[in-house]
């Protein structure tokens, strides 16, 4: 429980109205008198107006909309709401200790401040930082290095030799450092190219559930600090992702692709390999990226537009006629020009 003045003391901003006590954050439509809500998107003005919330986080320009309410006035209500939520739900601290069913190879280094869950396996020569949380049934293979306060949720797998920075968080089911998909054709079958690199994740990287980040073929696959990667994503071998980029679920980045910093990549995106995406590129969900994006700050978004089935069937059939349609238009233009010249 925090009063508005206590919240402002911790996080900045200005409180107005009564210094009420707040126990949780909540969306406008559900908030009750002991909860605080926020107005970020103007389309929710009415919802916030009607809300039973005990207080509202709001930008100065919208503060006048709620003259009778208890407010915290801030520059960025969405960010501030997240920070208030974090006050009520602080990051879980490691409960120091090793579960008796965990297996830690004798040559591994596991500080006493770490929390090691049931059925965890930590391989030879692995080195963990302070206060790591390795939760139930997770596997860290030999020769991995994990920075301080890194969290591996249950059923994660980190292959041998991978390096994770500080405060990295990996959600359940994700696999870091499996072999890249490198094959050479012999004329009758496929010879596997040994994947001799590893994966390096920078500080504060977060990886969602069931994502795969493959180890590099000869050098490492690298993700820069602060980059956030959602669920069910594929980062192929030798990808280089910059810092503070976000990648939404089900996106696949092919091998040796280089993605800049501060990019925002939507869900279900696919890329070819061996290309570069400039810093601050925004890529819309579902787009197939077929060549490099060299200029920073562009917005790319290319999907087949959604249509009712019959409308789709009637129109999509002409996709294969586009070249012919284009030629017919040119021919018509030529004939019209002749007719006009003969007038």
């Amino acid at each position: 429980m925090f009063t508005l003045s206590q919240i402002v003391e911790k996080l900045g901003g200005q409180w107005r109205g009564d210094d009420v006590a707040i126990r949780a954050v909540a969306p406008a439509a559900k908030a009750q008198s002991h909860e605080i809500t926020f107005l970020a998107n103007p389309k929710y003005k009415q919802d916030v107006h009607d809300s039973a919330a005990g207080a509202i986080i709001v930008a100065e320009k919208n503060a006048d909309l709620f003259p009778q309410r208890n407010l915290i006035v801030v520059a960025d209500p969405y960010l501030y709401f997240a920070q208030v939520a974090r006050l009520f739900y602080p990051i879980v601290a490691a409960k120091a200790g090793v579960h008796p069913t965990a297996v830690i190879e004798p040559s591994a280094t596991v500080p006493a401040s770490c929390e090691i869950g049931a059925h965890v396996y930590i391989g030879a020569n692995a080195v963990l930082g302070e206060r790591c949380r390795i939760l139930a049934n997770t596997v860290v293979e030999h020769d991995c290095v994990l920075g301080d306060e890194t969290v591996l949720h249950p059923n994660v797998t980190i292959y041998h030799g991978c390096k994770l920075g500080k405060r990295v968080e990996i959600h359940s089911g994700s696999v870091i450092g499996a072999d890249g998909f490198g094959l050479a054709f012999t004329g009758k079958d496929w010879f596997k190219i040994p994947q001799t690199g590893a994966v390096h994740l920078g500080d504060d990287v977060e990886v969602g559930a069931n994502t795969t980040i493959d180890r590099g073929a000869m050098s490492d696959t690298v993700v820069g600090k602060g980059t956030k990667i959602d669920n069910l994503i594929q980062l192929a071998h030798n990808c280089q992702v910059g810092e503070h980029t976000v990648i939404a679920a089900m996106t696949g980045i092919s091998g040796s692709t280089k993605i800049g910093s501060y990019c925002v990549i939507g869900g279900g995106v696919g890329t070819v390999g061996h290309i570069e995406i400039a810093d601050k590129t925004h890529i819309g969900g579902g787009t197939n990226i077929t060549h490099s994006v060299n200029e920073s700050g562009q917005h790319i978004a290319s999907i087949f537009p959604m249509l009712p089935y019959k409308e789709w069937a009637r129109n999509a059939v002409h996709i294969k006629n586009l070249n012919e349609m284009h030629k017919r238009i040119k021919e018509l233009e030529k004939q019209i020009a002749e007719l006009n010249s003969e007038k």
Copy 2:
């Protein structure tokens, strides 16, 4: 082993011919004399006619096609075939008992009727219903609630505080309740929005392998009873899925999207967030859903049509000329009209 008359006694329908003994179900092309097959799709009439099956499940309208054969005549042969298959392969019952390597926190409630496999971890205050099957190496975090006869296959992860109804079945590798992908930009990095909701799956929900259903940000992610979700699917935070909807593999539903009941969603579909899909909507595989579908019962299907590479290359290049082509057609129409008016 069941005779035709025994099957009819259990499941309804009418048997004709000899009351033969049946030991299994099989597809027409492979069925032998101790097996039963079925005719649902008319294009398999010849296969069924030629089948060595000992009996055929058939609709009344098609019964005349097989005058010499042993038949079970029913309203819906496909459904009936499934019900007969279930007779031969009943749902596996829990083998009551806790494997000695399983770890169950003392505050958890695990009825004696449950089957708890090797290396399972069940967290503090978790509550399981009767006759649950929690198979090897699965993790159920603290404060989860599981209904009677729920089955978690090996290597499943259920994050803390999630609620699963009765007879829920989750296949291996799936992750229920990982953090949603909620981030607020500070101007230099991304601040994580605490994901303080959970996941609630209704009775009889089935979830395939390696699917991820994220916990909600402030309220829960909810899947209604009887809904069936295939493999490698992403349900983002705060999605609401209705009852008896089916979603095929590799589909991604973005955050706060609301999907109705009795929808049929193909594989590889993607949606933007914060939209609504009406009841009974059919969405074709591979479609990108970019806005709400408000009217119930529509069929949406929009993909780029499949073409040989050269044909694709020749035509797809004109996609970026469509607006110009449209203008050129308008100009031609104007000039033709002028020429015609001058006649």
Copy 3:
């Protein structure tokens, strides 16, 4: 460490220059004097020329480009490089023994030559070949059969009754043999069709991380020998994949689809079910395969071309007008023909 002459003795080819000692393979830009690099793609000629590598693997036709360098001249530099890399990183051999935390049901057959990791579970009647490596936290359910030297990485799940050939390798998180997505609608809910087949993977099949291969409904899902399957792929029930086919990440193959041998299928591909793809078909990444490809050796590639957002929005809106545009062109052609005939 191998000298050039030792490498040639093992792998063939011809060495030129000094018989230097090599300790590793490396890409041209990073290679040092104790490393060997290669020239396969001509666009890297300059990189290779500038490389500090101690030796270069090169085709005869390019050998003259590097007259002062130590060379190994071979027919296929890319394949040869892979083979040299394998000399330095040989396939890891099984460390015979069962970890004390592993659980093996008494009726299972596990040869003494196998390596069974921590927290592994092997079910009743499972039969393993010689020198298998079953790594930490992996589950092999009852009645599975694994060929010699098969490797299951950590946190893999093999459902009951599946058969894996020799030298099969399955990466972490993958699930082999979960139930296919088969449902019959009763009019009010979905009745699950028992999935009574299994999965059969041929010799030398490799499966990446977090891939799912579902068991068949009445007969098996089958993958032919030498086929290589990347990460996060869905092979639905009753698929039949031929031999030596490669499938890149995030591709989904719908039920009962039959894929030929020596196909190359890009990433993010989707197919409808019940179709056939002929041998040696190449499918470009992101393509939706909507019908069979009957002729062998075709190249299919159909995606919406990538565009900047504004250009996409301006043009994609006309997709739904294509049929109308086509009609308008026909009408214009008719009117022009009339005008020309009246001249």
